[in-house]
Point group: C2
Chain length 385, copies 2
Amino acid sequence: MKSSIRPEPSRKRQGASSASGRARARVTLETLARRLDLAPATVSRALNGQGARYRIAPGTVRRVLELARKLGYRPNPLARALRTHTSHSIGLVVPDIGNPFFAEIASSVADAARKNGYVLLLGDSQDSTDLERDTLGTMAERNVDGLVVCPVGLESKHICTLARSGRPLVLADRGVAPNQLPCVTADHAQGGRLAAQLLARLGHRRVGIIQGLPGTLPNEERRQAFESAWKQLVGQPVAVAGHAFSYESGVEAAEDLLRRFPDLTAWFVLCNVSARGAVEVLRRHGRNIPRDVSLIVFDDQPFSELLEPSWTVIQQPVRDIGRRAAERLFDLLRNRAKPTPTWERLSVRLVLRESVAPPGQSRIIEPTSLGTVRGSKAHASRGTV
Amino acid sequence: MKSSIRPEPSRKRQGASSASGRARARVTLETLARRLDLAPATVSRALNGQGARYRIAPGTVRRVLELARKLGYRPNPLARALRTHTSHSIGLVVPDIGNPFFAEIASSVADAARKNGYVLLLGDSQDSTDLERDTLGTMAERNVDGLVVCPVGLESKHICTLARSGRPLVLADRGVAPNQLPCVTADHAQGGRLAAQLLARLGHRRVGIIQGLPGTLPNEERRQAFESAWKQLVGQPVAVAGHAFSYESGVEAAEDLLRRFPDLTAWFVLCNVSARGAVEVLRRHGRNIPRDVSLIVFDDQPFSELLEPSWTVIQQPVRDIGRRAAERLFDLLRNRAKPTPTWERLSVRLVLRESVAPPGQSRIIEPTSLGTVRGSKAHASRGTV
DNA sequence: CTGAAAGCGCTAACAA
DNA sequence: TTGTTAGCGCTTTCAG
């Protein structure tokens, strides 16, 4: 039998409750337990669907559930986390949440988190490895159950350490050197090849690359794939400029190319933020796109097709990258399976628009067929990229 | 005197430690306490800079600090939160993190959080009041110390309730009806007036508005200010179409205006995401901007000036909005002052570019002087809006 | 100047 | 079928 009077817990020390005025006292497990004349443990089990396992009387379970609903009981996630070492939270760290690409990743990860009943901690590393290290540390000590990381990508020791400590972690977009970590990213090399093939087929011979942050995986794969394809197709070297995934870098790189290699007939720009800078420079110098310089830009964005000329781009499945990364993280969280360090490569598409043409010409005469997509509606709702 | 042997805490039940292989055991307060032969309480006080208040021997404090550093001790924020009811976390809820406007808000709030030693919980309400309510509830029960909310803006009861429960909360961008909550937002009415003045001065008479989500504060303020200025300046009614801050709404509204009011010579578009849709529709219908339709768009974005024609926009100080909202939140968190429900209005600017001209003309002949900014470099680094 | 002990709200091991 | 107890890691009375 159960005792029929439960002592009020001693409130001698902690002078809480109505003093601080914080609304009416929080409903806790103990509130329920006392009102139902049950032990907190029983209530806990009933609430957690452990009724069957512990063979709690169905009636009891029902009473518990009922009162819980009536009082609007919500378990305290912090207490639970402290006890169980699982916080039902995940972390997302990106190099720049203001960048539409990562904002879109965040959007899909946030969506997945919510659907799985997790909260999302957001960290912005501002493309600094030091900040990234700090942020990851903070999140780890906050007991996030897992992480999606779009790393800065220049150093990876802190990330590997974190992953080896047993915390599920999935990389997105930029991978890191020793491919021991699960990662979801675009097929950057494919993008590089598509760009090279298109320009080669249009008859370009002297071309340049405006790159992003050297040393990062997307940058290297895009550049190298383009260069090696170009070497094979055209047998010419490729000029390279640029130093960051930024507007400023785009401006400087464009000035640089115009000065050092004024005879280039096409540029492959590895980042659409930089591309903005590059295009402005071309305008200032009175160079016509595509007549003087053809342009292929990595990564699409909603305005690409509205620009004059519209941009030919390599389109990444941004939303899918985020979604898949989150899915894989939640798989890990559910199965506690050992993280297969598989790299998932999502296909890119070449979207052909007006910014490319044969050298010296203002438009493509006959549509090439390179498995490309004739540019049009690729973007729609809610300003997302 | 202190006892010189401290008993190992009983590890009978919790089979933790090395079994699960989770790296080496976490160093806790007790680890330190035992190795220093002190009570956990003393260590806690030393670590929390309470040494002075409790007059702990300076030597002791030093020893504690030293060992803590040596062992890389990091307090467990969850345990602390459970005990102190402050989590050192804040929440940010936005209607759409994929929208560059809110991504930029998120960027500045994330930055502020980090600088203040807080972590940031991110919630995306997807412009749904229900989701917003859920998200806010989740965050509240996670004990966030405070919130920055960019509400959907159609209903506010849940937000007011939350705020009245004593949790510091600052609104950003969209306010909510009973102006009892602190809020940081742009001066939307000023933007509406500037737009009206410009179009009036250029000689337009029949104009229309493509609005965003009706009933939300920015939408109503922009629209009403425009309409009332227009009435005063021109004495004509203003056509209105549109139903959301989305691309699709922009498309539909534009089709709608063209069909119902084909004689309009200028459109004021209250959302730059919708504007993209509107511009595409104009193109499809072969209407020239600005000759057939002049265009003013609310909210700038990096590509506005690269478009052909470049967009005349009302520019909001997005980053400042986020920064100020966060600052005000942290003021509240520090001072525990009662939240002054002041509404902070940040000025907007009219940036004059090529998408406006006198009716039937293709460009502005003589620059007007309306306190406007002649369009140019307003955007730069890292693809942020 | 320091320690013992209580307890934040919950869950898990063990006991009955 | 349920209760008792211990304890997650920390802070905070209260008692020296």
